[in-house]
Symmetry: C2
């Protein structure tokens, strides 16, 4: 069987599974999730052994220490996957709710009803825990899932999916509801991304290179975020202690993630007071490398020079670009030009400035007097997230269970025909 | 300036216009719409002359009578465009509404706010009235629009867009809020469809060939419907007079449109009674060509033979495929296999059957005891539609003003940072 036929078969099986998943009750889905969680714990040795084989091959292939760390499944990470599934079982089922309802003058009753998307494909890299997390969220939202993880994690992923099959199957999980693409042929991604009618949505998770490669070839809708270039704008009317606390948190609390601040914009009226505070707290105490524009370096000459590249940079590291701006309009322009439509914050007590910022900045999430680090499914109260979207359509920001659903119209009549 | 640079410039101008449009009040947008409507009426001779030039070239190029009819702008069609804009001015502004709001335990207030999409590109064929309709809907929803109509309608489209520029501009319409792509280079569609960051959504309207060509190359999200293969399933528990009335309406009221019925599915228990009724009313009285499967032709031998191709056919004509099925499950399977996710109806008084059909059929709109012909923005109460979607994401079924918006999160804090 060639690659194309193999992927078509996976797609057909997923479509059939999606139809059966759509009919499962919430209670049944939760029973499956809990059974899989139990079995993950019971199988922790077997999963650990599979992961050890992956780690051995990866070490032999010369993967970086960071990659190896992402690939590693410790006992606590396996127990964490099980806990994640139990948490998902506790979340509200998004399927079946009535979003709106209205009656037309001719008596037709129109219901807009929340339904599963159908078949979701997740492309990701070395983290095997994504396998359990994504499968759990798709199952709870009654979607069939096609998983394509990094080849480094293949043995681990097979072991995890095998647990879904065995433990889930015994509780009524439809066959093929959770499928893993086992071929390491890179072209599988292209074939899957062009399978209109069999795949309804692709969520690629990983580096910008992977995501661009998917978007370039896809005919199926893709929801993604390329980068997180997040900003904090400190206004003339800011509480500077609050601003400093927010900046420190946004930059330093976890610098390697997509919702960390990469560029600080400071109103020129308070730059002489605020930038030395930033230099002391972030630069000296927290060892952040600051790169400023001319105006910033005039105030704090010890900063390195920021170039055009810095405004576009997603450092994911203890580095921060700093720019002095004349007003909120200039801050908005900077963010809309260089930002990534992810998360941006204003610190200001001025309501006119807050409103201008919230309306003018085009990002998925705009914060007023809070850290950008809250863009996260858990922090938003969604319980878990399947990813973060910087796209404009369907889902923006953290994507939880509800974002894994769509709607259909069900129209009730008593014989209405169109005049 | 090459094609690529020309399209990039149009995209940059659209992005700038979208930012300004997002700040317009409802009152201002309505004033613009009404001024454009007045000026369309005042310019009817000029638009008529431009259209006459298009008609002359098109007749010379040997366009079909149907194409020429779509291209023609009579006085009443021009007045119809003006009325359409006045109707849109009367519709509720979708922008700015709060979709939901919640407060987190740490005090963060999360608002999910309805916002414009940004830049919408509409690709369409010979109908110049789409130019005014699409521009009006995009303006009311605060989106900048890039219009790419058929080359046959170029002079007409230029005259219409010129009215938006002149009359709208005098009332505060941002420059470049409504742009027409004037080049007839077919590659313009590819370039526009790959302009991530400058174009946020593409809505192609036209034949399946145009739409597939867009999807094949697009990196920007596309919302579309390829085909309308709509079904009516007449159940064993149907009121057969109601069923006949619905079938006649769904097939004959306007056979050339996407929400007309193309295949009739009949439960075998009532086929002997119902198919002769269909033959008499649709076949004999309304001159519909019926093409049946073996079981149908056993009952009405005068039917032609239906082949596998007929189940996939979008006739857009007075032709109907007919199949006898053993139960609602078989009807659902047929529809999910051959249908186009558009609009499908069940006629039954049995609530179990109704529920199974509504849940099992995957289409955007499912009707219970009503004609498929109601899938239309006006009939749904949206006032007007920019198109119909058979996709799963963002919008399904008729797309009105609300479907031309998306959302963002605005999060209010008082200094919250992440622990």
């Amino acid at each position: 069987m060639g690659l194309h036929e193999e992927m078509l078969a996976i797609g057909d099986q997923a479509v059939a599974a999606a139809r059966r998943l759509a009919l499962l009750t919430t209670r049944k889905k939760n029973q499956i999730l809990l059974a899989v969680a139990d079995e993950l714990e019971a199988s922790k040795d077997r999963i650990g052994e599979a992961n050890a084989r992956d780690m051995e091959s990866a070490a032999g292939a010369g993967l970086s220490a960071a990659m190896l760390d992402r690939l590693r499944l410790t006992e606590s990470r396996i127990l964490g996957m099980a806990k994640g599934l139990r948490d998902v079982a506790g979340l509200k089922d998004p399927v079946g709710g009535i979003i709106s309802r209205w009656i037309r003058p001719n008596g037709l009753e129109i219901l807009k009803v929340r339904v599963p998307i159908g078949v979701v494909a997740i492309f990701y890299e070395a983290r095997p825990n994504v396998t359990a997390d994504a499968a759990g969220l798709c199952l709870k939202s009654s979607n069939a899932v096609i998983l394509r993880g990094g080849k480094e994690a293949l043995e681990s992923n097979k072991a995890i999916v095998d647990v879904f099959r065995r433990a889930g199957g015994s509780k009524g999980l439809p066959p093929h509801a959770v499928q893993l693409v086992e071929t390491t042929d890179r072209d599988a991604i292209r074939v899957l991304a062009q399978m209109e009618g069999r795949v309804d949505l692709i969520i690629p998770r990983g580096g910008e290179g992977l995501i661009r490669a998917v978007v370039d070839v896809a005919r199926v809708p893709v929801i993604k975020h390329y980068r997180g270039v997040c900003h904090v704008y400190v206004d003339a009317d800011a509480d500077l202690d609050m601003a400093l606390r927010i900046c420190e948190n946004a930059k330093c609390q976890r610098p390697g993630v997509c919702n960390a601040m990469e560029t600080l914009l400071v109103h020129r009226q308070i730059a002489r007071t605020f930038l030395p505070m930033v230099w002391k707290r972030l630069g000296e105490e927290r060892r952040v490398e600051l790169r400023g524009d001319d105006a910033a370096r005039e105030i704090v000459p010890a900063m390195r020079v920021a170039t055009e590249e810095d405004w576009n940079a997603e450092y994911l590291d203890l580095i921060l670009a700093v720019r002095v701006v004349p007003d909120v309009a200039a801050a908005i322009d900077h963010i809309n030009r260089y930002g990534s439509n992810h998360s941006d914050a204003v610190v200001s007590s001025n309501e006119t400035v807050q409103r201008a910022f919230a309306q003018g900045v085009g990002s998925a999430v705009v914060y007023i007097n809070a850290s950008t680090r809250f863009t996260d499914g858990g922090e938003f109260g969604m319980g878990a997230e399947i990813g973060i979207s910087t796209d404009k359509l369907h889902a923006r920001g953290p994507m939880g269970l509800e974002e894994l659903t769509t709607y259909k119209y069900v129209v009730h009549g008593d014989g209405q025909v169109r005049e």
